[in-house]
Amino acid sequence: MYQAESSGAVLRGGRQRAAGAPRRGARVSRNVVVLGTVSLLTDVSSEMVAAILPIYLVFALGASPLQFGIVDGIYQGVSALVRLASGFVADRWRRHKEVAAVGYGLSAACKAALVAIGGSVAAIGGIVLVDRTGKGIRTAPRDALIALSSAPAALATAFGVHRAMDTAGAMLGPLAAFGLLLLAPARFDAIFVVSLCFAVLGLAVLLLFADGRPRRPDAQPGAGRDGAARPTIREAIALLAEPRFRTLVVAAGVLAIATISDGFVYLGLQRTVGFSLTAFPLLFVGSAAVYMALAIPVGRLADRVGRRLVFVAGYALLLPVYTVLLLPSAGIPGLVLALCALGAYYAATDGVLQAIASALLPDSLRASGLALLVTATSLAKLASSVVFGLVWTLGGLEVAATTFVAALSAALLVATAVLRRSPEAVA
């Protein structure tokens, strides 16, 4: 199990960095590295199953892949509700670690269930549903813990470290599954067992090493104790009335609604560049690799030059991507450019947005606020993909891409204007 060793090395590295002399740029707390390790192990666990689940369902159990797709569709709605509820519960009882542990534990239990009853198609539908519910539960409290463990000046770096580790896990998972199938062809049960091992390791790292009540590196003694009263739902909703947070939600929502979903981008690239469909999975790997490589340096950059600037610049990176969709002969250079820009866009926007929001939100309502923001942006992205599909249908790909280039340019102007008027939070 080389994975356990390498995660141990990561832990040691994190500890040394936290204890040793500050490196150039911002430091990242041990707790962030611990949470990153938890995500890495959990993503290895879940992505190795996700990579083989369609094949397993169809070839080993004889199910229809369409049915599996439907389970996923139903889940989308449930996910948003679960995320909001778990964020609020974590805030109200100040149990971020415990709520996150429930989410990670649920997913680990699902891997055990796969080992035990994975031979039934109906059972797998239920297991997938519970597994994704676990993911919905853990996201907001975990991001809140990352923010609570990080100095305000290093928030974007902290999220960058976490996202880089998370993405590394997501890329290692399918590789692990592939390796296992090489060793033991068609033995899907072996994949489930190894996946369970990784899930248990992730949960163990969380329970044993994560600090549930972190004190920020710069905190004054007793600073974490203000506002001892439990936050109410009313207060959580009132976050949207807070001008700076509302401005951020609006700016992020406006940008998200002018974004073409990845699926359409890849499909458009396939049409314009005209590569073989066999290479389709490589697109995901390519942009994820860029995302992983850039998450930390871009996070660091954001902490230094301003997170809003980097966030808006990240969305501006989508303009060349959409432009490639408009070029009749972009070719392979265009494809590579688009994938790099897409990966950099994720690095500059995903964790950085959480960092901007974390700096604005009070400690007592951080998980609720982060959950609200993510729910708002994912709803906006859902709406945008419906609109994009409609415009593509009515006017063709060129018209749709042109429309979104225009919409994104307008959204960038709006976001820049509103974010400039609202000052960066002084936490």
Binding site: M1, A204, L208
Partner: protein, 333 residues
């Protein structure tokens, strides 16, 4: 802290040991086919008695417990006492061939991560392979063996929503060149003379009529249209709706297909008479997700992914099981 480190070391060791042990045992036993590895597919005597004598079938074995046998091709006569005989070394998830024995087999590679189309000739000897971009679904060879069509399920993935969604990829294959010629989403589709373009269009279920003429399904939103198209012109017309996985009869005048029940993924087999427009539901009442095949002018064969069945093509009678533990039936004439 040291107690925690100790606890973690114990958990990590337990995970590592059990994981490595399990994988080792799995690796050692994965290829060792058990000694009783005999095909379990059998001809159903009563079913065989119910169809015309003299006809035969090519099927693939369905045997999920035995990866070595799953997908192997078998040929069988449809007589009371017939025993299926293995044919060639191919293992296919889906197979189709014409009367001359030119065929297309959609196969999963040994490790299950990639899929390929295998073009074979008489004797089911493979001569060309090309890779296909997803889970094999449908395969169909033209009567003259010049073209084939296949459908694969693609799975997409987005970071933001973490959602996987399925769409289909359907392409026409040039059997002589041994590779795909074009994807159906490059077809210029018209309906009533007007261009019919849908961004969310999915194509599946190609079936050849004669020459380079073929039928296929176009799905968009919740609707499913029957296309009639030509390979040479790459043009298609919408000629019907609510029709999926069409299969023209030997005389070319009727089309067997699956018809969706409501908006669900449940289907009933139907036969449409293209001349009279008369449409009948077949006597199979269960939901069937398959591209039907004509055994002869009066009989449809299909599978429920476990067994192969036959049912009269005029809506009368009742379904009969023909071969147990088999799927992807192809009529041998």
């Amino acid at each position: 802290m040291s107690a925690r480190a100790l606890a973690f070391a114990a958990i990590a060791a337990a995970c590592a040991i059990s994981g490595v042990a399990y994988v080792t045992v799995a690796a050692l036993t994965a290829d060792g086919t058990t000694s009783d590895a005999r095909p379990r597919l059998v001809v159903d005597a009563r079913g065989a008695a119910a169809v015309a004598a003299g006809s035969g079938l090519l099927v693939r074995a369905v045997d999920y417990d035995n990866p070595r046998l799953n997908g192997r091709l078998y040929e069988t006569a449809l007589r009371r006492d017939a025993r299926p005989r293995p044919s060639g070394g191919l293992a296919c998830e889906r197979v189709h061939e014409n009367a001359a024995g030119d065929g297309l087999c959609l196969a999963a590679e040994r490790h299950g991560f990639d899929y390929e189309g295998v073009i074979y000739g008489p004797g089911r000897r493979p001569h060309t392979r090309f890779s296909i971009p997803g889970l094999p679904d449908r395969a169909r060879v033209s009567p003259d063996g010049r073209y084939a069509g296949f459908t694969a399920f693609l799975s997409g993935h987005t970071y933001s929503a973490g959602v996987r969604s399925f769409s289909t990829h359907t392409a026409i294959v040039d059997m002589r060149a041994g590779k795909p010629l074009f994807s159906l989403d490059q077809l210029a589709v018209t309906r009533g003379g007007e261009p019919f373009e849908r961004a969310d269009a999915n194509f599946w279920g190609v079936a050849f009529a004669g020459g380079d003429r073929f039928y296929a399904t176009l799905g968009s939103g919740g609707d499913h249209y029957l296309l009639e198209a030509r390979v040479s012109t790459r043009r298609a017309r919408v000629i019907g709706d609510h029709i999926e996985c069409p299969s023209p009869s030997p005389d070319g005048h009727r089309i067997a297909y699956k018809r969706r029940i409501g908006k669900q993924d449940r289907w009933r087999l139907h036969v449409l008479d293209l001349r009279s427009g008369r449409d009948v539901a077949l006597a199979e009442r269960r939901s069937i997700d398959d591209q039907p095949e004509w055994l002869d002018a009066d009989t449809i064969v299909y599978s429920d992914d476990r067994n192969v069945y036959a049912v009269p093509a005029d809506g009368s009678g009742r379904p009969h099981r023909l071969v147990a533990r088999a799927s992807s039936p192809v009529a041998l004439r």
